[in-house]
Subunit: 641 residues, 2 copies
């Protein structure tokens, strides 16, 4: 096998790339039209103007309960000279909505007449068409109801039907064929073995196509074979309006894609200076758009939105709406490389009256970071970074209501937090708990900086043996807060099932045949590890793997389960979840820090009610194993200035 | 037939009504769950938490192109003491994305090695798992991917699949049965005769249900028959999660609805003090929500959104998002009756840097006003009105992008404007022309007040015989503007086909057997009418129907076509459109006023390019009949201070 270096044929700045692509889009036409029933036209786009075929109302009707009369028979009526009209010859009883009898042209309200046998008595003349809903009062025949290129909504459907239209010309839904490629790619549900990757990208971007109003077809997975890819691409171009080729995440397939597109049509550009998403390929075959999408899921998402959305909308004859944005303030500085537009995933929390954007992990392969993100911040290419507290425009991935109902929890991870997040959403659909796992110390700093509403922490103070409180008194001395216990939990060494290396204590970590997996600096578990090592007089450099850090207990457990490491410090629950063995080291207290100013937020009240009162929650946590919930919800410390 | 007065059993303030309804909603449960393929779950709502079944990545893979090595075989390598590793026993070539061979635990980048025959030479040791994408780096097995009650989006689909889930538990889509009632109601496509009304409401609100994530079934139309309605309601309750009964617009049916609901279950409330939408009925049968919706389309829309949205979302286990709002400034004062919450339809224009909200017509039956509206302004019950220039919260019916791309055109109506609106949207999908028809004078005032970007005007100055310019010099003397000709057009008397009343001139309007239909004060056509009357010495009070006003030419033509009137002043085009006869009176100039400050807005530039350059547009206008387009696009007057 030959080791290749990737070569991008060009590396265009984003704005130039968008301009080149737009020039191509301007050359392609919207899809042809088809007729659909108006009743079935929600979300479709008109391909012709829709005019009213009839007026609405279609006839004169009474706007009141009363009597229909002829206005010229009411002349001369007054208080001093009342007039009698004969029922039904001169005055016909009508209810609201009923048509006026032929020849009648006004309505007198029932309140304004006296009944006298077969007559009604009136005291004033009426004006023509008084209290009458006349023909065309709402819609006038021939009136424009909808222009061409209009996205049809519920009210449009009502108006078209009321205007006598039962069918409407709309653009055929653009059909996008998605071809996943790469010998390592398998379909969801197929047996997953080492070296294989599930094709989740096709379905993610297919759903995006559907959201934009198009249809998508997933082609078979095409392994790394130029001729086969050509064959598939040929067929796809014939049967669809645009084609997306998703590159495998391995290096080879990308070269195939550009080679194949070039041999059948034209490459518009290959490589854009953005992060993530640099290896995007845009081309055309027979004047149909061809997109070569990077295989890493975050790159796929970002580039698909940047380039494919405009394509689908163009095919529909529409202009895409940009994402809603809000002004948010960066909670910490962000470095970015000059010359690249970067799309930064952030979490957003409304803390006091400001939206605070906290950057999250950047890897192009980390789909969960995108799933957890609330917004994307675009850092332009000429910036080397953005300083903390800078106002930025955050493009929302969630609704403002959702973001405002979200509790931002930053700090140490615990599996009980996942259960808590689910229980909150279950009991209070408007609220969410969104966790970022940066360790206990990171959580306290996030509270200090106003980035988070709550923080999970389990920091052991070496000298006092106390949990959390000494750190709060040092780091958060200016913050009024409550410290609420969530659980006590068992920490220890997580080792492989059956403990094949016979690890029995901290001392075994120094063995040459043992690889350790550590937690990141600032995490409570790291403090615990370091304390144990110091107690035993072990130097970190004597432990293999000490400098490799995971950010969660499950990350540590997973590293052990998969063979990356032989042992790591973590909680019993994580070991139990993955069927691993566990050597107990310490029982520790895991608390939540909640500043007093947030206690009255409805979502925080809801969260605390679950911790203190929800029996289902308590028993679900107990079922995880390794937890002592006896103090759950207890305020273990309160600080007020 | 008995004339009844409508009686509302109560007339609750809106907030109390919402509270009562919410109390009921809190008692009902979400729909039961079902499983769907993850690939088909877009827009569905989770009924259980989704956890990762596998880690992603599922294996250790190289994050770089290079060589996989065992880290402990690299100890001691340095610049002065390079180390040789044998290929492939100690160093296996790997491309990005490829799995690490068993037992290998780090990667050296290809750039960092020398190849020497069957060996590679390295100059520094590596750390464990350097340049390796480890198992679970993205998703860790057992991790919470989605909580319960989560609306599934494209990224969620990707994450679920990547986490090994191919099926997901979701809530069954709530099924809402809609029963249209009223003997006067017919289905779209059925023959429309006098007294009949097309059921457009069912389809409008059905589309709303679909937008919210539910399904809807339209029942047969039930005429005004208590027993039949009971029968239908009974079946609907059995087969659906909630039922909507749409009242006919005639008075009788409403009483049926509340009577029938009461006999089968419970009325929660009947009548809410809102405008429009007062006669809403909310009830329950077997703990299922029953909504009796008013028959007027705007009332139906407003009340359905107020009360049914929460119901559908509750059935889905979600909380509805409120509409996006913006702060806008009222262009004129609005009066509102104390004691009613009013929902005012407004048009919004971004004029200079402010959003200006201009109230439009209020009738509950005017669906087109809702279709044309950009937003709804809620006037609370304790307000008697809102003064001009007051900042209000406008709940958007369209996207901000759409609103910002909209040209607000206020003034005189002309059919050529409809053609222009369509052509603009066709050529420039991002832009719209939205017209409000308030007459020429109203248009000039709208320009003066900054409510409109352009105004259509055809005002004849009696003394000079000049069109438009004298009025501009008087009313808009402080505004830099251009006056651009759109068309010359023929004004005259529109009369019935065959002219059965033998109307030949203005003088005939005074005849006892002739009913006139007038245009509103301030319209150019009204000025023309009044000038003609003065020229002939005719007093307005001698004309029957002089005080009945229509707002558009088509409104006048429609009034004549339907028999409301025998004659009205209007343009030839309107007569032609409805197949009416026409007696010419004058040829007049119809111009557009465009303030200079708007000339460089891209949508105004686009509009002017269509007027000046688009041949298709010109020929479409000519085809309407009655137009002289010889000066189309000519700047007939320019005013700069």
């Amino acid at each position: 096998m030959k080791v290749r270096r990737r070569i991008y044929q060009s590396n265009l700045p984003l704005d130039e790339a968008l301009k080149k692509w737009q020039a191509f889009l301007n050359r392609i036409s919207p899809t042809e039209e088809e007729t659909v029933a108006v009743s079935d036209s929600l979300g479709r786009v008109t391909s012709r103007a829709v005019f009213a075929k009839i007026s609405s109302p279609f006839f004169h009707s009474s706007a009141m309960d009363g009597y229909a009369v002829r206005f010229n028979e009411t002349f001369g009526a007054s208080e001093t000279n009342p007039l009698k009209l004969k029922v039904p010859e001169q005055a016909v009883p009508v209810n609201t909505g009923e048509p006026l009898p032929d020849g009648f042209n006004a309505v007198i309200m029932v309140e304004d007449v006296h009944q006298e046998g077969k007559f009604i008595v009136i005291h004033s003349p009426v004006t023509p068409y008084q209290h009458v809903r006349t023909v065309g009062e709402d819609i006038v025949q021939t009136e424009l109801i909808l222009p061409e290129n209009h996205l049809i909504g519920p009210v449009d459907i009502g108006a078209m039907l009321a205007g006598g239209n039962t069918e409407v010309y709309v653009r055929r839904k653009p059909r996008i064929t998605i071809i996943p490629t790469g010998a390592e790619i398998i379909s969801p549900g197929e047996e997953l073995t080492k070296g294989k990757i599930i094709d989740s990208n096709s379905y993610m971007i297919g759903a995006m196509v559907r959201q934009w109003g198009g249809e998508w077809i997933r082609d078979e997975i095409v392994p790394d074979d130029v001729d086969l890819l050509k064959e598939h691409l040929q067929k796809a171009v014939e049967h669809s309006d645009a084609v997306v080729i998703i590159a495998g995440t391995s290096a080879g397939t990308k070269d195939f894609t550009s080679h194949v597109i070039e041999s059948m049509g034209e490459i518009i550009l290959h490589g854009v200076s953005i992060k993530p998403g640099r290896p995007i390929i845009l081309g055309s075959i027979n004047n149909k758009g061809i997109i070569g999408l990077p295989g890493y899921p975050v790159s796929a998402f970002i580039t698909f939105e940047l380039f494919a959305k405009g394509l689908v909308y163009r095919l529909l004859g529409m202009e895409p709406d940009p994402r809603d944005t809000i002004t948010a303030y960066l909670s910490r500085s962000v470095h970015s490389s000059l010359g690249h537009d970067e799309f930064l995933r952030v979490k957003i929390g409304k803390v006091t009256d400001r939206y605070i954007a906290t950057p999250i992990r950047r890897g192009a392969g980390a789909l969960m970071t995108l799933q957890r993100a609330d917004a994307i911040v675009h850092i332009p290419a000429m910036n080397e970074g953005i300083a903390a507290n800078t106002a930025v425009q955050a493009q929302l991935l969630k609704s403002i209501r959702e973001i405002e109902g979200t509790i931002v929890c930053i700090g140490s991870h615990d599996n009980a937090l996942d259960i808590l997040a689910n229980q909150l959403k279950k009991r209070y659909p408007a609220f969410s708990l969104s966790s970022a796992h940066v360790g206990s110390m990171g959580g306290l700093m996030a509270i200090k900086r106003g980035e988070a509403h709550i923080a999970g922490t389990h920091l052991l103070d070496e000298s006092s043996g106390q949990y959390n409180i000494p750190f709060i008194e040092k780091l958060l001395k200016d913050v009024d807060l409550q410290l609420i216990n969530l659980v006590y939990r068992q920490q220890g060494l997580i080792v492989k099932k059956g403990n094949p290396k016979g690890i029995r204590s901290i001392e075994d970590l120094t063995r040459k045949d043992v690889i350790f997996i550590n937690r990141q600096a600032g995490s409570g578990t790291r403090l615990l590890t370091d304390k144990c090592l110091r107690d035993k007089g072990i130097r970190p450099e004597d432990i293999h793997g000490y400098d490799r850090e995971e950010y969660t207990h499950m990350g540590v457990a997973s590293a052990v389960a998969s063979g990356v490491a032989d042992a790591g410090m973590g909680i019993l629950t994580a070991a139990v979840a993955l069927g691993l063995d566990f050597i107990p080291v310490a029982k520790e207290r895991y608390d939540l820090v909640v500043p007093v100013k947030y206690l009255e937020m409805p979502q925080i009240e809801a969260l605390i009610s679950i911790i203190t009162e929800d029996r289902e929650f308590k028993s679900m946590v107990q079922n995880l194993g390794g937890y002592d919930t006896s103090d759950m919800g207890k305020v273990v410390f309160e600080q007020r200035r």
